[in-house]
């Protein structure tokens, strides 16, 4: 196998292992649209990262965090429903990102590779970021696991029981922003949410506990990456979309099985 294919596989699997467990919370907390909004803002992060001359993943994560902060503030005024706010922010940031990238005169940015991923161009440096950053994200997620789960069941109850709700929420948003930054190279900003929610949705059917579901989602995501990359290599398909379609195919396949989980 070629080196670039091995790197692509390592990068994709690394991202999937992180996105699976995190994606479970996105599904449980019904935050798919939130994930979309954060990832759309990633393009703005890339443009700003170029301007500031800092690591692009770091820039994307920072912009995601800032956006999450703006969203929390805007939610407090309670005048607009959350999905309206998200739609507003999502498309505004995506458009701002597209404009900012177009205005960049010093660098030529390959827009398609950021929108839909360029997994075959994953470098050794990218791999270090993905696996190192991914390990940190998973460790933090494990640390936040119980309070997050308690909050997911009922936020008021969690607060009464002394769970630091705001800090946990901010922590979770940080992990989301970081994961999106890590996943950007693999599937691109427009397809990241798929990697978060499709494996989780697929795993639900076979899971008896939240932890099993998280593990299964990671495994299913990794399998999707392998399948998608394989198809991409053999049939010369765009890699990012092929990974997403592979995940969707696994989801459809999973629906054929009788329900195993807790229901």
């Amino acid at each position: 196998m070629d080196d670039f294919l091995l790197r692509a596989l390592a990068g994709g699997v690394g991202v999937a292992l992180v996105a699976g467990p995190l994606g479970c919370f996105v599904v449980w907390r019904r935050m798919a649209y939130f994930g979309d909004t954060l990832s759309h803002a990633a393009l703005l992060g890339i443009a700003l990262g170029f301007v500031a001359g800092i690591n692009l993943m770091l820039a994307v994560a920072l912009v995601g965090l800032a956006l999450a902060g703006v969203l929390v503030l805007m939610q407090r005024q309670r005048k607009l429903a959350t999905d309206t706010l998200l739609g507003l922010l999502s498309h505004t940031t995506l458009s701002l990102g597209l404009i900012a990238v177009a205005l960049l005169q010093t660098v030529r940015v390959d827009l398609m590779s950021y929108l839909f991923g360029d997994i075959l161009a994953v470098s050794g440096g990218d791999l270090a970021w993905i696996w190192g950053g991914g390990a940190v994200v998973l460790a933090l997620l494990a640390w936040l696991w119980r309070p997050l789960l308690a909050m997911t069941v009922n936020e008021d109850l969690a607060r009464v029981e002394g769970v630091p709700v705001l800090a946990t929420q901010l922590g979770f948003m940080m992990l989301m922003a970081a994961t999106i930054a890590l996943a950007m190279k693999v599937v691109g900003v427009l397809l990241i949410t798929a990697l978060l929610i499709i494996p989780a949705a697929c795993a639900r059917r076979f899971a008896r506990t939240p932890e099993i579901m998280a593990g299964l989602a990671a495994a299913i995501g990794a399998l999707s990456v392998c399948g998608g990359l394989g198809a991409s290599f053999r049939a010369d398909l765009p890699a990012g979309p092929a990974v997403v379609v592979a995940a969707a195919a696994l989801f459809l396949l999973s629906q054929l099985f009788p329900r195993g989980g807790t229901r």
Binding site: T152, L157, I212
Partner: protein
């Protein structure tokens, strides 16, 4: 205004929570006006009132979920509160058994879970998925959850809302039994007067302010109460007793407070706090 000053026999040491002149405003709308409330160990206090009367807001203030705009909320130092929210909506995608749900808020042993579930009559549900429970079963499980935390005070927000009529009587009897067994105080909001009143030591009729408070049989004779609930609610079917617009006119001389929380058109104000 009737207040807790009418209960001199209550020793202050037994007080679990106490609000003094508690006022809560949402924007320019006053939801609670100068509410004094004390709940002591071993007593059941039930809040009743029409929609938008501020019942849930008062609970949230007691729980520390709602910041008062004025006045104070005092909690006994080290007070453990067992809170039972109005409704628990666990997403169907979250695989969670009752046993696991009960362990989410702190380490508990399997034996303690089984014993507590048995106490609320839900022993057979331990390994069921949370989403498969009926309204009444879920409320009993949530009661068990609160009990597992060994609370000094149980705070229940309309515990019987999603429970069928037969289950409501059982649930209130269970709450009463638990209070006697564990000696904890109980503060609850209830829409349903007939069952809730039977085990209540003190009934507080709330409509933005405390309209009347005292023993249930006294409160229900109070003109404010009768104005709020139409006629003597104990003689009415439960489904009727929670309705009834609040009209202050010449017929209700007992209640002369201004009602900031009521808009001009006379419709009961919508509660701004989302429930559950």
């Amino acid at each position: 205004m009737p207040s807790d000053a009418e209960f001199p026999e209550m020793s202050p040491e037994a007080a679990l929570i106490k609000t003094t002149s508690l006022t809560v405003q949402f924007g320019r709308r006053t939801v609670l006006q100068s509410v004094d409330l004390v709940v002591s160990a071993g007593e059941v206090v039930t809040l009743v009132g029409p929609n938008g009367a501020g019942k849930s807001t008062l609970l949230r203030a007691v729980l520390g979920l709602q910041r008062p705009s004025g006045g104070t909320v005092w909690r006994k130092p080290g007070l453990r509160i067992g809170y039972m929210p109005q409704r628990l909506a666990v997403d169907a995608t979250l695989p969670l058994t009752v046993r696991r749900l009960l362990a989410l808020w702190g380490p508990v042993t399997d034996a303690a879970v089984d014993e507590t579930l048995g106490e609320v009559g839900a022993a057979s549900l331990a390994d069921s998925p949370v989403q498969a429970l009926s309204g009444g079963e879920l409320q009993r499980v949530m009661l068990a959850r609160a009990l597992l935390r060994r609370p000094d005070l149980l705070v229940l927000d309309e515990p019987a809302q999603a429970v069928d009529v037969a289950g409501q009587a059982t649930l209130y009897a269970l709450i009463d039994a638990i209070r006697r067994r564990h000696g904890c105080g109980v503060l609850m909001v209830s829409h349903d007067l007939s069952y809730a009143i039977s085990g209540t030591d003190r009934l507080i009729c709330l409509n933005g302010h405390v309209c009347s408070a005292g023993r249930p049989e006294d409160v229900r004779r109070h003109p404010d109460f009768q104005a709020l609930f139409g006629i003597d609610p104990l003689a009415m079917p439960a489904w009727l007793s929670a309705a009834g617009p609040h009209s202050h006119g010449a017929a209700t001389p007992g209640c002369q407070h201004t009602h900031d929380s009521r808009p001009e058109d006379g419709h009961p104000p919508k509660d701004q706090q989302p429930h559950g």
